[in-house]
Symmetry: C2
Subunit: 266 residues, 2 copies
């Protein structure tokens, strides 16, 4: 049988329409084009098992490194359960975040991937900030890596360190200084692979909490950083010392770069 153009487009509409009614989070929004309904934003999150997500991230990491490992751990599970639109997300793009973005040592790729997931599933910008705050504070303050694989890529007793920074360069250097392993060693790569599993697990714990109880705020800045912020951030604009104090932006732990106070401090 030969279908007319109208019949083909009609059938595509039916297929896409049935999808919109299923659990796959595809929704008709605006006009159809190329026979596909644009998925509604934010994409729907479905509760995932943190431990399984850690295992998945550990397995995925060698295919595309840290950012990819975290992002793919969630997206592949949702794709297996729900199909589209998760299945069509170009997860491979997330390889760009490796080693603090293409080896630059800037933001740790694992938490860049975590934050990207938060941005995909959460619409409200204040909520995104709350969730990323919790994630980044956890990363800065926790002895990592904690994940112990059932079948390790490299079977070693893994030393843990607290990074006091979300930056790849600082996090890796700190671990290398404590352990004596080099940044390009197989031990350091195994460390980041396990840390990728930790970050994926934490991301899912935070998203699970957000979408069930809405409450994820547990951690606070360390005392040193709080002290800096009491004068140097926006909220202090009404303080008496405001005129003497340079205001700044950001929430990273101050002491990881500013190891001593400048002369102006009293």
């Amino acid at each position: 049988m030969t279908l007319t153009r109208r019949e083909v487009l009609g059938a595509v509409g039916i297929a896409a329409g049935s999808c919109a009614l299923s659990s796959c989070a595809m929704q008709e929004k605006g006009s159809f084009r190329d026979g596909i309904a644009k998925p509604a934003y934010p994409w729907k999150y479905a509760k995932l098992d943190p431990e399984k997500t850690a295992q998945r991230a550990y397995a995925e990491c060698p295919k595309g490194h840290c950012m990819y490992g975290v992002f793919a751990s969630v997206m592949t599970q949702l794709a297996e359960e729900n199909g589209e639109p998760y299945r069509s997300f170009p997860v491979d793009m997330m390889r760009y975040g490796a080693g603090g973005v293409a080896g630059w040592g800037s933001l740790c790729g694992a938490v860049n991937g975590s934050a990207a997931l938060v941005g995909l599933f959460v619409d409200d910008e204040d909520e995104i900030k709350k969730l990323v705050d919790e994630l980044f504070l956890w990363y800065q303050q926790t002895e990592l890596p904690q994940y112990v694989p059932q079948k390790a890529g490299l079977d070693i007793k893994m030393p843990k360190t607290v990074s006091n920074s979300v930056l790849c360069h600082v996090s890796v250097t700190r671990w290398c200084k404590v352990t004596g392993y080099k940044p390009l060693s197989k031990q350091r790569k195994e460390r980041c692979r396990r840390l990728t599993a930790d970050a994926a697990k934490k991301t899912v714990e935070i998203l699970n909490a957000h979408f069930s109880s809405g409450s994820v705020v547990v951690l606070q800045h360390d005392e040193k950083t709080k002290q800096c912020m009491s004068c140097h951030v926006k909220s202090s604009e009404t303080q008496p010392r405001e005129i003497l104090t340079e205001k700044t932006n950001g929430k990273m732990s101050c002491s990881s770069c500013h190891s001593s106070l400048s002369d102006g401090h009293v």
Copy 2:
């Protein structure tokens, strides 16, 4: 007329198949699911006009900030020209990168968005590194912002500064120190909006060059950083001073954080 299930699925196949032959970069890969063909990775890039992209990024920026502005400037143009899969990319997720990721001041959102685009359109990891190197070195070494909007959101004579860093906190603080404007001022916001336009333009220039001539490598690290790297990075492992030198990871300009040399230096 009533279509059978087989006829519907057949029609979806035809529609998706015709799309695979068009310029929309949709390709049949693996099995169909939910009636949609998974877009092949890497997604196809089509040459864009750098100046128009800067204008688009400046216009998009207020809707979702820096990372969103850069990413959306490219994706919306490709969607208008080619439809899927560009149209269905959840560009809103990129709001997570604002202010160095949710206000943390880590990696500048504009270049996080640029690097994400590189990751989407370029498959080879060595090529991704080359392109991101060029992009990040440009960001570190160039007086920014350069973009002058035809109709400015805030009409001021805009001071330019060299950031010497890809980190939002450092880049913003340097500009604020030179200009006297505060990090949360409308002038600083206008600065980042114009810088978003600059980063989008540079991204497109680099991608255009990569996909036409394949040659984008122009910039090098500054002399100070080169000197640090001559002992501290991987390539120096065969150097005589290797035993005395701590190896490190990353490519960020060293001097923006390490303002003085430690005692071990001779």
